[in-house]
Symmetry: C2
Subunit: 457 residues, 2 copies
């Protein structure tokens, strides 16, 4: 890997010095994924300049590796003729991805200029991007079940494909998928006259084009598949999803969940402007702000019902109770959201999960409640309007109640959303925090009020 | 997929009714990954009972799919003889994974009872679990560069391996890895007398056994590799990491980051006891609790420096300022942590990233500060000890400052940790929140104090 870094340094030097001729040689040494990195890291003004240096074949590989925003920028600078030349070097699924970055008119012009594959690309463009149809490639080998092993091996050896082939799908006379045969399996078969139908691995898992990409990823990851066939309702083979696309899906989904937990969006990884960051983050912060308005009204309301000095004494602990409630809720929500994403729970365990979170919340609440009670009794208690023991008891009990509630609430919200087929990650982080802030405060003042009216202060 | 669910329902029925004979037939219909699900979902008492029903071959496949804690439970019930019989059906890397769940003595006994592969397994057991060595399999095909295509095809056809073979590694006379050839490439080569050395794809990426699994995953994901060779310092081929293991690594790493953000651990996904949840979550909550002690002392300190009514008026906004500071910080931290994990940033962009986060924080702070200022002026202001305009100005300015600071701090902490080779996710969530709580409070009271001393109240 050291050589790559050295080459990249030399490339940086050439870009700064505008030594375009030397740059060409250096770039061609790199893997397309690394060239894509170089272009993404370069200043906007020179990105197209660097890209233009490459051969059409390399351009095709690099386009497939670029992130969406850089790809869009570069395509904007190219003519439709140039784009169609590049497309002629690309696999149909990569072309479809590329054309989806263009407006409809330009995309249509490129399709008309293309020498081959334009029909396949048109079909691929019909599917939603985040479905099996949108992720699949139409590059695959399908053979009739009557073909012999010998015929199959000769046919595969004669194929002119860019991507390596590892196996052949087997279809019956109605062109319906019945299974697949590994090339290795063919080589191992001594009787080369054996028809593929007798060799084929049946019981093949399949998906339809509208299957969600996350479902596709879960299936492939669970059963360790390197390739998953996509079929229509009648069972005709339309394409296949390959494992490298699935890795991208898994990373995207994980990023999405992480960013949603924080009240943000993974689009931020691509667009570096503070304005777009602000646009994605602000709505979530406004939820917190709205909660703040509610809490300030609650605090004001309480101020009018008890004495000033009492409110003041209690207000010392408002940040602790709210912070602990918020964090406890997030911990529960995170466990449930990630567990659901990874399919770690069976749905029937729902009730058990909630009980477990309640138990965890009670346990942690009892410990933290005791600690804060002791703190309130000995450190803060002496200088307030309350008897130190009363303060200790009520603050401790309030924290215990708030944490238990937060744990249940944090677990319940994503589970309920999931039940109603809403992505549980959507309303997790800031939503759970905000609700727990309000509830924690209400519980805190509710408990202490109850104690004031029951116990001698 | 519908059939699987129906079979699983029938299985549940058989388990509840203890119909073990019927269960056997139903289980054998399922994929090992699904049998593993059934066992994981079953009550502890019957897990081993279900496992015992399976054939040795199926047991071997199921063991490789079980989660760690269930696997350990089941292995505990088995004799070393039974385990070694199962091991004889497994690939060396899966055996090594299984033996690492046993204590050293039992593991040694199993190795001595095994009929084959025990030397390979011993070697694999030397490597750390989370390195290329710990993840690699020793199942691969390596051929001398002088072998002809014809010899290679015959050799591959004669192999007795459980896993499909897609390509052969090529080694020179010193047994040093020089490249690889796809089987498909061999089939396409018309001159079957051509030596592999002339066909081999050179410039193969390699890693050493001690390479971190996350680095391995990044390389394979970036270059879309289905297999990555592991070599020793001299260049001898030791094994290879396959893409299905890498998917597990990527999911584990994403889970780790998600859980750390919330102050928890992905071990929680496997161990369902509230006590172990409590043990992983509590330390993080205690950070928040400690912060709470600090904030309560700060509040108490401020109380003694200004009038009670002033403290009271200001305390209405404490939850808002702290909540907004906390969330803003988490948003920044999340962006940086995920970006670093996905390798989206080049290190030189560090300075630009910090500037950008500051700009985002200022922008969001200005908007939220204005909103809260208006709220303070017209809704809360009339009933406090301050002039409403003063309250609006100081609360708004305090929120602006706190948010700007939180955005910079949230971005800086993970960047600094990363610089010092500490996993940036470790100290993110609760640590950033806790620090931002304290800083937000200090900034809030600092700004308002400054305003009190400068402006007419």
């Amino acid at each position: 890997m050291k050589d790559i870094n050295r080459t990249k340094e030399q490339i940086q030097f050439c870009i700064r010095g505008e030594l375009w001729d030397q740059l060409f040689g250096l770039l061609e040494e790199l893997h397309p994924a690394d060239i894509a990195d170089v272009i993404e890291d370069a200043q906007d003004e020179v990105q197209s300049r660097i890209f233009e240096l490459l051969s059409d074949e390399t351009k095709a590989d690099v386009i497939a590796e670029l992130d969406d925003s850089t790809e869009a920028d570069i395509l904007e600078e190219l003519s439709v003729e140039e784009i169609s030349d590049i497309a002629d070097e690309m696999a149909p699924d990569d072309i479809a991805d590329m054309l989806s970055e263009l407006d409809e008119e330009r995309s249509e012009e490129v399709l008309e200029l293309m020498e081959e594959d334009s029909e396949e690309v048109r079909e691929l463009l019909q599917y939603e991007e985040d479905t099996a149809g949108g992720r699949m490639t139409t590059d695959f080998v399908a053979l009739p079940d009557t073909a012999t092993v010998k015929e199959a091996l000769i046919h595969i050896g004669s194929l002119k494909l860019d991507e390596p082939v590892y196996f052949a799908y087997v279809v019956d006379t109605n062109n319906i998928l019945t299974g697949y045969v590994q090339i290795w399996q063919m080589l191992k078969t001594e009787n080369r006259q054996k028809p593929l139908g007798l060799l084929a691995e049946e019981n093949t898992l399949t998906v339809t084009p509208d299957t969600d990409q996350e479902t596709v990823a879960r299936i492939m990851s669970k059963y360790d598949l390197s390739s998953l066939p996509v079929i229509d309702i009648e069972g005709h083979l339309l394409g296949r999803v390959t494992v490298d696309d699935i890795i991208d899906v898994l990373e995207e989904e994980a990023s999405e969940d992480i960013f949603k937990l924080a009240g943000s969006d993974d689009a931020e990884l691509e667009d570096p402007s503070p304005f777009s960051s602000c646009k994605t983050r602000l709505p979530w912060l406004l939820i917190t702000l709205g909660t703040g308005f509610v809490t300030s009204m609650i605090l004001k309301g309480f101020m009018q019902s008890i004495t000033t000095m009492e409110v003041l004494a209690l207000s010392f602990f408002v940040p602790i109770v709210m912070g602990m409630g918020g964090n406890t809720g997030i911990q529960s929500a995170t466990l449930i959201i990630r567990g659901l994403a990874l399919d770690s729970f069976n749905e029937k365990a729902l009730y058990r999960l909630l009980l477990r979170e309640m138990a965890t919340g009670m346990l942690m609440g009892a410990i933290c409640g005791s600690v804060i009670g002791i703190w309130a009794r000995f450190v803060i208690g002496s200088s307030t309007a309350f008897h130190p023991a009363f303060l200790a008891l009520s603050v401790g009990l309030a924290l215990f109640s708030a944490m238990m509630f937060a744990a249940i609430f944090g677990a319940a919200v994503p589970l309920i959303l999931n039940r109603f087929k809403v992505d549980p990650a959507v309303a997790s982080g800031p939503f759970v925090s905000a609700s727990n802030d309000i509830f924690a405060l209400l519980i805190y003042y509710g408990v202490t009020f109850l104690m004031i009216s029951v116990l001698p202060v």
